[in-house]
Amino acid sequence: MSAGEPHSPADTVRFLLDGELVSASDLAPTLTVLEYLRDIAHRTGTKEGCAEGDCGACTVVLGELAADGARVGYRAVNSCIRLLPTIDGQELITVESLQERDGSLHPVQQSMVDNHASQCGFCTPGFVMSLFALYLQSPSPSREQVLEAISGNLCRCTGYRPIIDAGLLMGGYPTPGKWSREAAASSVRLQALQALRRPRAMRFPGFQAPRSCDELAAALEADPAAVLLAGGTDIGLWVTQQLRDLPSIIYIGEVAELKCIRSDAAGIVIGAAVPLTEGWGAIVAAYPQLAELAQRFGSPPVRNSGTLCGNIANGSPIGDAMPVLIALGAEIELRRGTHTRHLPLERFYLGYQRKDLASGEFIVAVTVPAAKVGQRLASYKLSKRFDQDISALCAAFVVDHQGDRIGAVRIAFGGLAAVPARARATEAALSGRPWSEDSFEIAAAALAQDFQPLTDLRASSAYRLQAAGNLLRRFYLEHGGSSVPLRTAQIAAAPT
């Protein structure tokens, strides 16, 4: 590994770190960014707390050229499950990057000090980097913005109040000499990243990063046992938790066609390499009712790396995207070699960890249908903790309302079966009935025909089934059945 090589050989990962070009070759394809930082670069400020993207102690910020190549976007990611080859062409910013040579602290850091926001200090670098990413976007954020920015960071000491205050007050400090918003957007930075763009695909033993869909299809057809890697928020765990030896990796994050979101008559088409942050952004723009679900999906660092299609391809029974996508009638586009086919998402899941996916086939995109008039929609997630938790169950209801009658009904749940699945009996019980409490009670009673959920660490079978019915009742109440508050978040403490 050396710094400053100008050329871009296919077997070398190149990125910027503190303004210097780092060229890394002879890499294990599964080397994580955190392992690189701690074990190779000996930059120990970035910490390992869990090695699964759930505590945020390893948070770093990546600067990446936008699709048009004309500006740089910065976002926080979990370095513990991010594989180093996937930051090729980007700028890596760690907690050590922010302090100036004379020892002056960045406003984010100084605000943390001034607000007494560190105790044991182990989580602190991660919070600093999450707040730094927010600072570049919005130096004087709202409380809600701060809470969201740090929702993927755990602190066990402070109770968070001083950290929240540090975020709220960071904009009040003088512009720093290093890593001001202006410096982050400077043409020097932009040009440095533009200079890293490679003429041809990165490829070394065990890893390749095709640049087009055709290249990708050919590569996978040639090596159907290869692992398709997008953001790595799941595959990272295969490496760090399961200690699996992976077959060769085909990284899809360099395939330009897969990084696009477009709208057409059928709806919103979200490419397989589009991060969850953008994917959910597009969905929420069309369906504002899904804002809470989108916000509670993972955490910002997870959404910045992981992809919507990765969540679909993983197909976990407790993944939070699938219920609402199935209820909306989303369709996926699959490709194998030159052959393309389209499949309703609900038919993709055949059984626990079994999918309608042929060897050598991959997901190109998911199409989310456009919103329809008269359509009532909600998706609710229940978990032990509000932010960054895995669902005990997740419900999605899409109900067409015609006059005082219920028209077409699509209901899907996660967490109640081996796969994300529609509740056919419940749908049948509801469809065609009047919009009334009675109709929803009858439908809730039908849930037991659809599902016999498991008891596990997240909830018992009984709770899952009962709460599923109650979410159906909540859906009714939220759509004209009630005028009282229906969510705890809607109320504040009793006024005095």
């Binding site: 910490k47 907690v95 007494h116 600093v128 109770g159 968070y160 109040r161 009282v484 508050p485 109320i491």
Partner: protein, 766 residues
């Protein structure tokens, strides 16, 4: 410059923390030949090991060595009280997750991969997994304790009202952000240097020495800081240190043993879960007349600290209430689960949770507001002021705290507002509760209430300070530096607090029981006062002044009309051959405790506090949200108000996690399924309430002679969180008829809350 104890300086490492330059054990640069170790752990709860085949482990790439029980040169034990915690299980497996061996390899990943390759043939044995099963089988790790005061049988029989019930309390994982880690570096002549993330370096030293068949002076343990401890690094780190030391001894190479998060959570002890069956007699006003309690905890497979943890639970069953006639039996249950250990509060929170539920249920049964019943039962100031273990409560400020807090938080008005809301709200209910805290300060094991310090003044006037306490984020090093700065009239920048090191201060107690600043602050003060006296004497000799004419202030020394720098005086003293190094020592006065009779004065003093919490509960899902908290806490005269505020807020939210979202879940085979942050949910930033007022009680210096009249503040605030559980109980109760008693266990997960709501709606009596 203001006196450093009159201000609230930042944590001494704050700048290092935020810039990523604070070094933790995992960040220490290591010699090139260092090996990395990983544990191999059992997968089932109770079994005999027929064969343990490690050949597949040894044949993995990079593996240098493995160690099993037979490879330990000395004692196969890391248990400090009873010697019943094997470093490596030998023949008998007693919980799923128990270490069986450790492997050293050239990298962390190589060691972890190799550790999974062992071929283990188990002969499964029946496992006892929960408290009720252990009680039925009389399965205990220690003898049960029985404390009786007054005439509980008669008083119960004569009480006009009786109530029986059960309290169910879950455990808690520490979830320190920095996992367990130790590095063993062989030294010449068979000595061993250990870097350990530990609250108890002296215990690590002792146990490593025993494991290596060496003596204490052969082992040196250092710890600059921990990334959180919370009690989880009191006894547990000796396991990592001993395993690393055994491998280092075998290979002659440095060995680093950093345990990954999942293994850490499977392998190490947690807060004890508890059960209590109670029978209380009371009068129509709600005054408790007599109480009988069966208290039982799940200790796991070994004793560890379960004796003193359960003792403290028993000693805190009163919380702030006078219990005249009381009969408590305390069972310490042995189960085939991980051996539970110290956790902030050390049994106190569980004891207090029991009495708070009892008081709440009395109030609901009588149709009274719980706050009134609480106040009625508070310890008196001049009467009704002796605890059930015979200690007089001499410093009672709970009346003052609760009166102020109830007024400031407008408890009564909000009680009306909550009732009015609930009368018209079918889905989202509100709940409100005020609960008190009284927590005893001192180790109940009297011997631990001592501390030492070592203070050097160099000839340039800078100070290097060492003491027996450890820094785990609680700000101890900052506070001790403030004490020394105040005593020597120096700015904080003149004081460096170095790593805790068994080679500098010997025979230290754990940084635990909230006592570290009380004990080490006094010891450091004593050392500083020795130096100060020597410097004064030298100034008198040199300049011909009287002692009272010498004053230390802001890095200067005023000697009569002269004003010289502290460094200049130190230089003069050095040249005059005055020793500028001193130890300091302190032991807590007044305490005495009869462990057999359960009588005496185990605590030097009490720390107090109270909190009002208001929650919203979703009756469709059981989800809860903390809307507002108001806290008034007693820290005496704070040593550092900013650090103490951090302890109060952080302790409170850690307790909220324990009582709401943090659920430890074992499957029917006794395997813990919640062993990572993906499955075990500690609070996030959103769980801090949008409205929070946290204040410290002013004008109440400690009535005992503690360091600058401060009070311990590490553990007591955790129990302020009981107000949140009771606010949830309040909201749940509102769903039923008047007098309904919510059958709500802790943690109050959405599922537990929904079940309790259903029960009160169906009219099921708890």
């Amino acid at each position: 410059m203001a006196n450093p104890v009159d201000t609230a300086p930042h944590h001494e490492s704050a700048q290092l923390h935020v810039s990523g330059r604070a070094l933790y054990a995992d960040d220490i640069a290591l010699p090139a030949d260092t090996l990395h170790a990983a544990f191999g752990i059992s997968s089932i709860a109770h079994a005999r090991i027929r064969t343990l085949d490690l050949d597949p482990v040894l044949s993995m790439p990079g593996v240098a060595s493995v160690a099993v029980a037979a490879d330990i040169p000395g004692e196969n034990n890391y248990g400090s009280v009873l010697h019943d915690d094997p470093i490596f299980a030998d023949a008998l497996v007693q919980y799923a997750g128990q270490p069986l061996f450790a492997v050293a390899a050239t990298s962390h990943v190589a060691a972890r991969k190799a550790a999974r390759r062992a071929r283990i043939d188990y002969e499964p044995l029946p496992a006892i997994l929960d408290i009720r099963s252990a009680l039925a089988a009389h399965s205990y790790v220690l003898p049960s304790e029985h404390l009786v005061r007054g005439s509980p049988d008669d008083a119960l029989a004569q009480a006009p009202r009786r109530l029986r019930g059960t309290v169910t309390i879950g455990g808690q994982d520490h979830f320190y952000l920095e996992g367990q880690i130790a590095i063993a570096v062989p030294q010449e002549g068979g000595a061993m240097l250990i870097h350990s993330s530990t609250q108890h370096p002296s215990e690590v030293q002792q146990l490593v020495a025993h494991a290596l068949a060496r003596r204490a002076h052969d082992v040196t343990v250092q710890c600059r800081r921990m990334g959180g401890g919370f009690g989880g690094k009191e006894t547990q780190p000796a396991l990592m240190a001993a395993a690393a030391a055994v491998l280092a001894h075998r290979t002659g190479r440095p060995v680093k043993l950093r345990v990954d998060r999942d293994t850490d959570m499977l392998m190490t002890g947690k807060r004890h879960d508890f059960l209590a069956d109670y029978d209380v007699g009371f009068d129509p006003t709600g005054r408790i007349l007599a109480l009988r309690i069966m208290l039982a905890s799940r200790c796991g497979y070994s004793a560890d600290l379960s004796g003193p943890v359960n003792d403290r639970a028993l000693l805190h069953l009163d919380n702030a209430y006078f219990l005249e006639h009381v009969d408590i039996v305390s069972h310490r249950c042995r189960t085939h689960t991980v051996s539970n250990t110290a956790f902030r509060g050390f049994g106190g929170p569980q004891g207090m949770l029991v009495i708070e539920q009892i008081v709440d249920e009395i109030a609901r049964t009588l149709g009274l507001d719980a706050l009134g019943v609480r106040r009625l039962n508070f310890y008196g100031v001049d009467t009704r002021n002796v605890t059930h273990y015979g200690q007089m409560v001499e410093d009672n400020v709970i009346h003052k705290i609760v009166e102020r807090l109830a007024a400031d938080a407008r408890y009564l008005e909000r009680r009306q507002a909550v009732a009015a809301w609930n009368a018209a709200a079918p889905v989202i209910r509100r709940g409100l509760a005020l609960t008190p805290v009284k927590f005893g300060i001192s180790f109940t094991s009297t011997a631990f209430n001592q501390a030492g310090a070592l203070l050097h003044v160099y000839s340039d006037g800078t100070v290097l300070l060492n003491h027996g306490g450890t820094e785990m984020g609680q700000g101890l090093f900052t506070k001790i530096a403030q004490v020394v700065a105040a005593e020597l009239g120096l700015p904080l920048s003149a004081i460096r607090v170095s790593s805790t090191d068994t080679g500098k201060v010997p025979n230290t107690s754990a940084s635990a029981a909230s006592s570290s600043s009380d004990l080490n602050g006094k010891a450091a003060q004593a050392a500083a006062q020795v130096i100060r006296q020597r410097l004064i004497q030298h100034a008198c000799d040199r300049y011909g002044v009287e002692a009272q004419q010498v004053r230390f202030h802001d890095g200067r020394v005023l000697i009569g009309e002269r004003n010289i720098g502290f460094g200049e005086l130190a230089q003069h003293a050095y040249r005059a051959r005055i020793s500028l190094s001193s130890t300091g020592y302190y032991r807590t006065p007044k305490i005495e405790w009869d462990k057999t009779a359960l009588r005496g004065r185990p605590f030097f003093y009490f720390a107090y506090g109270a909190a009002v919490s208001e929650v919203a509960v979703d009756c469709l899902s059981g989800e809860t949200q903390l809307l507002r908290v108001d806290i008034l806490h007693d820290a005496g005269t704070p040593l550092n108000a900013a650090i103490d505020l951090g302890q109060i807020e952080g302790g409170f939210l850690q307790g909220v996690g324990w009582l709401t979202s943090e659920e430890l879940w074992w499957n029917p085979q006794g395997e813990l399924q919640t062993h990572a942050p993906s499955t075990y949910k500690i609070p996030t930033a959103r769980d801090w309430p949008a409205q929070a007022t946290v204040r410290m009680l002013d004008g109440e210096p400690n009535r005992e002679d503690t360091i600058y009249r401060s009070k311990a503040v590490g553990e007591p605030p955790l129990m302020l969180s009981i107000s949140v559980l009771h606010a949830i109980r309040d909201a749940v109760a509102s769903c039923g008829a008047a007098g309904a008693l919510p059958d709500l266990r802790a943690p109050a997960t959405p599922e537990a809350v929904l079940r309790a709501i259903d029960a009160v709606r169906r009219g099921v009596v708890a």
